[in-house]
Symmetry: C2
Subunit: 199 residues, 2 copies
């Protein structure tokens, strides 16, 4: 097997540590870097440090921001009496792409998972309870992944928040465009369980 | 659509310019960066600049190296009378992964493509002819992609080098494990054309 010249090997190693980047993609990215003009690489390197140093968490909802509060929390057009609870920023982004939700968020930073020693104290749940108890909130929508960890976390939060406000969770069911025949049993069972009136 | 906080948006833009990286992957990579310890990001940033500044081309074969000559050219165990011509470093890497070839290389840096205004003078073909005319070479193996551009380039090089030495090209045919039924017509025609004696 060929061994790369040292600075190149080191760069490939860095890329390999990225999520979803295998050895072949890492090689391709590193070779791409070598072909770029020096300015591009300096800018990229600068941008990495800048983003890392300047982007932090919103003080209310823990979304990413370089200000004290994130853009969503500062937007007066969004309903601040509605909070959607998500595990990670990427889930918030997915919901924003759907362009359906116009309320605020609370990013708890993960899911309760005893197997990975992640208890509720490691998540932004305390801050959520505080936020809900101190403000007038009409509804909390839980948008966590349908899994053991997601359901556990939803249940845990629902118990804590139901004294203060209405708590709902997003629907589980058939994905749009799916063929009933190929949908897995668990999803089908959940879809049946969650059936709603048509008229 | 959500707009990212500026330093994050800039970083995502950088990642999006990478080959094979779409907007979603770029977001994922940028979010990954934000989660890393500062040291990792500093090291990565350093590694980018180092690789970019220190890795250049081998003076004999134009492979990537941080020395004057690449590791393959410096390796006394490799047959220097055998040169395999490839378009890009990534093709050289693919051949090295096959662990079959033990000669030297010549990376010409692309393929002749009048459509993209790439003429032979933009490629390392002159240096190849010089190398072949000045050294005792037993065989030149052309390993360029089977395409109009690849074939044109192979033919061009073969005409220039055949006065000096034997010129061959790697075989075109059925890929291992393929089902005859699903192989495209052009490949099948090439495979028939290139048939060899069994015994």
């Amino acid at each position: 097997m060929i061994t790369f010249t040292k600075p190149l090997a080191k760069l490939i190693e860095h890329f390999e540590r990225f999520p979803g980047i295998g050895p072949r993609t890492a090689q391709r990215l590193a070779l791409y870097i070598l072909k770029q003009p020096e300015k591009t690489i300096k800018d990229f390197s600068q941008s990495l440090l800048e983003a890392h140093n300047n982007v932090g968490q919103c003080k209310s909802c823990f979304n990413l921001t370089s200000e004290l509060e994130c853009e969503i929390c500062r937007n007066p057009d969004r309903d601040q009496k509605l909070i959607c609870v998500v595990a990670e920023t990427k889930d918030l982004l997915a919901l924003e792409r759907a362009r359906e939700y116009k309320g605020h968020y609370h990013v708890i930073g993960g899911l309760i998972s005893p197997m990975d020693s992640i208890g509720p104290e490691l998540l932004e749940i305390k801050s959520l309870v505080e936020r809900v108890s101190k403000n007038e909130i009409n509804e909390i929508i839980l948008a966590l992944t349908p899994s053991v960890e997601g359901d556990t976390t939803s249940l845990y939060i629902a118990k804590l928040l139901s004294p203060f406000t209405k708590v709902t969770r997003i629907a589980y069911g058939l994905p749009m465009g799916s063929e009933l025949e190929y949908v897995d049993e668990v999803t089908l069972a959940r879809a049946l369980e969650g059936r709603t009136d048509i008229l």
